[in-house]
């Protein structure tokens, strides 16, 4: 295998559910040796979650988030399990988890404990509220973090209650930030020999996406929710009209259109061919279109709703107008020519699946040092106990078996 950016970096991955496994998925895709450590009896709860109970009852989401990782089982509540973990820490570069704030501390593996074992260790912890502050003992998940960070408040249509960012936006985003923090910490460790403790509060990560609103409030002291705000699918900065999501032929089919300057409006008009409404002089300038946006949107939708998504996008892009189909997962996985041409949708080996493969998205960045390569499937619980405990730690096969029987592995 070719050298990857994180080749030679070993990560002890105690994460579970979404945010942590998302971080270590990226690290594994970038070449790190990620050893996923799970309790024998419980394992990552995502192993038991499913989108459809009839299909892949124990896999699905788990396979996506845990590709390219090695899997071992380990009971950290036992003295023997703790000793094995200590040995792994001496041989590793990174320890990462997304437990509540005090879990590692109770096991004796807070940052001070880990540093005592390996002074250069990089320790990343990802609880929702972090390791300090008055809410440190509270639990969180995607929607509650999104609400507390101000993201939810900023989203929605004018004069309507706040709308959400779906369920798990911040779980995923925190995972990306976790991966970035690890890359930066490894870079720093390579320069200085020093490890560090990354305390990643998902709430704080969410706030880091809200700089514009924070600045606007702190200087201008005005409410984000005021007449016309939040603007839903309309655009106030930059000012644009028509700017929105318009119904097309078919069930729940839509197209997004963004026209800002008067030059773009003239190009938009050329695509409308035999329509007459766009000749209305009140639409000729951006100012006029903003003033008459409701009427404009009705006209645009009367035009789009007689056409397919594909036709609208093709006509408008040919005229030089920003327009795109509102795509569902099936369209992206099966049909999208751009994602296919770039090789972004790849097959993942999975024996239980029809044809032995399922489609997933790959690393969302392309470079010579990041070659698309065959992904290894996610591990079964304890699948690599022999490799890690036998080969890496040098335990005899009989000893590994004994530890399994005693519930330590």
């Amino acid at each position: 295998m070719s050298r990857l950016p994180l080749s030679g970096v070993r990560v002890l991955d105690l994460t579970w559910v979404v945010s942590g496994p998302q971080a270590t998925r990226l690290l594994a895709d970038l070449g790190a040796e990620v050893i996923k450590i799970e309790g024998r009896n419980r394992g990552d709860q995502v192993r038991r979650m499913t989108f459809n109970p009839r299909v892949f009852a124990t896999r699905g989401m788990f396979v996506y988030f845990n590709r390219n990782k090695l899997g071992v089982s380990l009971n950290l509540a036992t003295p023997e399990g703790k000793e094995v973990f200590r040995q792994l820490v001496t041989l590793s570069d990174v320890v990462i988890e997304n437990f509540s704030a005090h879990v590692m501390e109770r096991w004796g593996f807070d940052y001070a404990g880990l540093q005592a074992i390996n002074p250069a260790i990089i320790y990343v912890s990802m609880p929702g509220f972090g390791h300090s502050g008055p809410n440190v003992d509270y639990q969180s998940n995607g929607p509650t973090i999104q609400a507390l960070s101000g993201q939810t408040f900023a989203c929605g249509f004018p004069d309507m209650p706040p709308a959400g960012w779906g369920y798990s936006y911040m779980d995923h985003t925190a995972g990306y930030y976790g991966a970035m923090a690890v890359l930066q910490a490894v870079y720093y460790r390579n320069r200085t020999g020093l490890g560090q403790f990354i305390d990643l509060a998902q709430l704080e990560t969410a706030c880091s996406l809200m700089g514009v609103y924070i600045l606007d409030y702190t200087v201008n002291s005005r409410s984000l929710r005021r007449p016309g705000m939040p603007a839903g699918n309309r655009s106030t900065h930059p000012a644009a009209a028509p700017h929105g999501v318009y119904r097309c032929q078919g069930e729940d089919r839509w197209v997004a259109i963004a026209v800002s300057t008067d030059e773009e409006w003239q190009r938009f008009r050329t695509a409308l061919a035999d329509e007459v409404w766009h000749q209305d002089p009140s639409f000729a300038t951006l100012w006029g279109r903003l003033q008459h946006q409701d009427a404009l949107d009705r006209h645009v939708e009367s035009w789009t709703s007689r056409r397919t998504q594909q036709e609208v996008m093709r006509l408008l892009q040919a005229a030089g107008v920003a327009a795109g189909m509102v795509q569902d997962p099936a369209q992206r996985a099966e049909e999208d020519p751009q994602l296919q041409a770039r090789g972004h949708i790849v097959d993942l080996r999975m024996e239980e699946a029809e044809g032995g493969r399922v489609r997933v998205d790959s690393l969302p960045m392309t470079a010579a040092a990041l070659p698309h390569q065959e992904y290894r499937p996610a591990p079964d619980l304890g699948q690599h106990n022999g490799d890690i405990y036998g080969q890496l730690l040098g335990m005899a096969a009989g000893e590994v078996d004994d530890y399994v029987k005693q519930g330590i592995f």
Partner: protein, 404 residues
């Protein structure tokens, strides 16, 4: 103070937000970041509202200020021969160039990756574009809304009986900028180990593809084609929807009851025995009976103020959120105690409150620099004279000629 990247120099050629956000993430960790802007107007984001403390002014756009901390600004016209030559001088002294021009634009200026690589073989060129450098859509026109549509986030947001609803505030630019920063960090590790640079190709559309809801794996593993309103929408009363209290909105979830049945725990907490009805036990059941459920729960929530409800429920190990406004976020005691925000002193605007890196390193906000966003061309003199060795006379001539 760590200064993780203080041995890295990067040049940001980007115009607008996505490249600026990528560069900010690295600049905030100590990378010496030179933002190259066209003379005259500067970065397009300088002209976008909301403006701070008064009428439109190119140094006072909150869009620009938020995305450009800890950078130095120079002006340079890349469409002149002299400008191209000066950029090559900067390239010799840089580890990374970040650009977000349309594919082919840098090549048309004689500044494509092949040329830059010859000038500096260690150079990492990180290019962020709406659809990537390759593929049939690479020259399509795009916007934040169009990226959300084609990338597949839009179909999942909003309520089932309404049109799809976009996420606010250029989240596609932020998401792709973050991916580009991750890729650039990976390439820096590779460069330090091998001496080799490379061209990184980041697609905004692909960044959105991996944004929930509507994951490709959910479809390809289980045949689920996402529905609006299912999770976090109007029908998910106990699973992420926003419900009125006396003074705002709260978000309820069924997580965190430590193994106890979540609806039993909620029934006890809200003193609503009706919630123990088996029809509410599964998420599917709650979705089916969402209107009845909503009425029951909101009836009780009207007795509460949001923050009192939050505290009481969280103390009981239920997992809830308050829909906080920017004002509440800035004043949030938890974030304040952690030191999540940074105060930077802007010469024209005074103290500005910025969110930090999104995490703490060794217990501190790891943002090491103290510069607010630069004024246009603020650092022309120091960079052109100190880094490129131009004389004051040459600088004046180039400025007069519109190159700088």
């Amino acid at each position: 103070m760590l200064g993780i990247l203080d041995d890295v120099r990067l040049i940001e050629l980007s115009h607008h937000l996505t490249g600026a956000f990528c560069a900010k993430l690295l600049a905030d960790q100590g990378a010496d970041t030179i933002k190259v802007e066209p003379p005259g107007r500067g970065d397009a984001a300088r002209h976008e509202p909301p403006f701070l403390a008064g009428p439109p002014h190119p140094n006072q756009s909150s869009q620009f200020l938020a995305f450009n901390t800890n950078k130095r600004s120079i002006t340079l016209n890349l469409e002149t021969r002299t400008g191209q030559r000066l950029l090559q001088g900067l390239v010799r002294a840089a580890d990374v160039i970040i650009d977000s021009f349309a594919p082919g634009y840098l090549e048309s200026l004689g500044l494509g990756y092949e040329t830059l690589h010859q000038v500096n073989p260690r150079l990492i060129l990180t290019s962020i574009t709406p659809f990537g450098q390759t593929g049939p859509y690479r020259h399509y026109l795009s916007s934040d809304l169009v990226e959300q549509a084609l990338g597949g986030a839009l179909i999942g947001f909003g309520d089932a009986d309404k049109e799809p609803m976009a996420l606010p505030q250029n989240q596609t630019a932020i998401t792709a900028g973050r991916n580009a920063a991750i890729a650039t960090m990976a390439a820096l590790l590779y460069q330090r180990a091998t001496g080799e640079g490379q061209h990184i190709d980041v697609s905004i559309m692909e960044a959105v593809v991996q944004t929930p809801p509507g994951h490709i794996h959910q479809y390809s593993f289980a045949g689920n084609n996402v529905a609006r309103g299912a999770a976090g929408g109007q029908r998910s009363v106990m699973d992420g929807m926003h419900l009125e209290t006396q003074d705002g909105y709260v978000t309820l979830t069924t997580a965190g009851t430590g193994g106890a049945d979540a609806m039993d725990a909620w029934a006890d907490f809200l003193e609503l025995p009706e919630l123990k009805d088996p029809k509410f036990k599964s998420r599917q059941g709650r979705t089916r009976h969402w209107e009845e459920l909503r009425e029951l729960v909101v009836g009780r929530l009207r007795r509460w103020k949001s923050h009192e409800f939050f505290k009481a429920a969280m103390e009981r190990r239920l997992v809830v959120g308050v829909v906080q406004s920017p004002a509440e976020v800035v004043d949030c005691p938890h974030l304040a105690e952690r030191g999540s925000f940074m105060a930077l002193d802007h010469p024209d605007l005074g103290i500005l409150n910025y969110p930090g890196a999104g995490f703490l390193a060794d217990g501190e906000n790891p943002v090491t620099g103290s510069r607010p966003a630069p004024r246009l061309g603020e650092h022309n003199r120091e960079i052109y004279t100190e880094l490129l060795g131009l004389s004051q006379h040459e600088l004046a001539q180039l400025t007069a000629a519109g190159v700088i």
